[in-house]
């Protein structure tokens, strides 16, 4: 039945898309406040996968059996540890170069990216690592022969992403720190004049970006069960694409871009070809940028003189 194939691709696409969205949040928020791309962000995601696996190992060592408890504590601890990486990247690669040329932090961030990859490769080995699939089973719709299913892990990905996005949206729109983030994004100089500690806000944004990426990293790790030191590269490019597609600097744009990219990939893989899904997805990005150079929800940057 065509309907079930379509439904299945939609479920897969949206799940994949929310992951892209979670990681795109980091690109878009950092770009929002410093107008620069964090090229080490993909590797922050990669690090979070390893952190999640290590936390799982520690939790198992203590003989904790409850899967929901394990998953929630892994999520929380991984977010915290990865946040430290985000904070450190800003301190090491960006802050000392503030006021320097725009290209300098770009290079230092690529340096951090390579350093993280090499460090994980040396410390954890170059081969694929695995974690046991904690949650199996799926919810099925349809009959015996034709059906669509949403695995429990996919459901968890959707719920956890929604919760993470919900918390983030609340923090950005309704808290003091969130308001200061938006203020700094709109006008850094005047925000400092009004008393906002803009350095602290920039750190905060790196921390938020890293922890949302960690939510994505943890979920993907327990969905697929395997990872290596290089997964950050492809995921980084996909999430960056999602951020650009949605309009870089726009938070809802990042999520929208992620889901669109995920859906495009899944539909193309389901109906045409798995091999060319990335070609198609990136091709679509190029076409879209012809018509909307600032992305779907982005706005033209007004250059101040």
């Amino acid at each position: 039945m065509d309907f079930y194939i379509l439904a299945q691709q939609l479920i897969n696409g949206i799940t994949l898309g929310t992951i892209y969205g979670l990681i795109a949040v980091g690109y878009t928020m950092v770009y929002g406040v410093i107008r620069m791309i964090n090229f080490a962000h993909g590797d922050v995601y990669m690090v979070s996968a390893y952190v999640a696996a290590i936390v799982l190992a520690v939790i198992s060592f203590f003989g904790i059996q409850s899967v929901p408890f394990a998953l929630i504590s892994i999520l929380i601890i991984t977010c915290f540890v990865t946040a430290v990486y985000g904070w450190a990247i800003e301190r090491v690669a960006y802050r000392p170069l503030r006021g320097s040329t725009k290209l300098a932090p770009l290079i230092s961030a690529i340096g951090i990216s390579l350093m993280l990859q090499s460090y994980v490769q040396i410390a954890q080995g170059a081969r694929d690592q695995g974690v046991p699939i904690l949650i199996q089973g799926a919810l099925r719709f349809g009959g015996e022969e034709h059906f669509a299913q949403i695995t429990y892990m996919q459901a968890i990905i959707l719920i956890a992403s929604l919760v993470a996005m919900g918390i983030l949206t609340y923090v950005i729109n309704h808290t003091r720190i969130g308001r200061q983030c938006r203020a700094t994004q709109q006008n850094r100089q005047i925000s400092a004049v009004l008393g906002v500690d803009t350095d602290r806000i920039i750190s905060t944004v790196f921390v938020i970006g890293a922890s949302t990426a960690a939510v994505g990293g943890t979920l993907v790790t327990f969905n697929y069960g395997s990872f290596n030191f290089f997964i950050g590269f492809v995921m980084g490019i996909k999430a960056f694409t999602a951020a650009v597609l949605g309009g870089i600097g726009s938070l809802p744009g990042a999520v929208l871009g992620g889901i669109l990219l995920g859906l495009t990939e899944a539909l193309f893989a389901g109906y045409v070809s798995t091999d060319y899904k990335d070609v198609f997805a990136f091709g679509l990005l190029i076409v879209l940028l012809f018509f909307r150079p600032y992305g779907l929800l982005g706005r033209p940057e007004i250059q101040k003189v």
């Binding site: 003091r176 308001r179 200061q180 938006r182 203020a183 709109q186 006008n187 100089q189 005047i190 925000s191 400092a192 004049v193 009004l194 008393g195 906002v196 500690d197 803009t198």
Partner: protein, 239 residues
Amino acid sequence: MQENALLEFVGVHAHYGPVEALKSVDVHIRTGEIVSLIGANGAGKTTLLSTIFGSPRATGGRILHRGEDISRLPTNRIARRGIALVPEGRQIYQDMSVEENIMMGTTPIGMEHFNEDRATMFELFPRLKERRNQMAGTMSGGEQQMLAIARAMMARPELILFDEPSLGLAPLVVKRVFEVLSEIAAMGKTIFLVEQNANHALKLSQRAYVMVNGHIHLSGESAALLDNEDVRKAYLGLH
């Protein structure tokens, strides 16, 4: 050094690259005064205000606030000393509501007096109350100017710096802005006003400085400067 100056520039220099924008400027403002700084476009008036917040940083001399040199402090620490700026071109947060813009003004002191101070601002600027949930960027220039003033006032500053508050506004609105300035002065705030509109500025202020090419050319009582032949010719367009 001047006695009991609230803010004082002592031999301040500033550069934009190789260009010297301020050449040993001495200016002082006492508590409770309205002091204006007039001069032609490009004379360095805005630069002088900007050095208070450290961008550009003063490359020579000292900027004293209550006798303490603040010229090396981080920008955000200046606001916490009770100095607020109504910047040139308003610079309100276009993509925030009027209410949120006002909230941003409380950054140095926190939300403790928010409701009370907001009520005072809404009384002073009834239009802001009408438009409190509107995006600030959709308001007219005059309304945005009022918002920029309200935002600065929310920090309960002792000293407010105004950078060209009349720039780009219709004559009637300009008149209203200057009325607001004297109301603010009546609330006991010290005002340092940078203006191209010399006529209005000199009538409002008690003392004034005239800036030419990055240095202070003349200074004195505003009333005396209004009668000064040079000033009348150069800045008031009168004979």
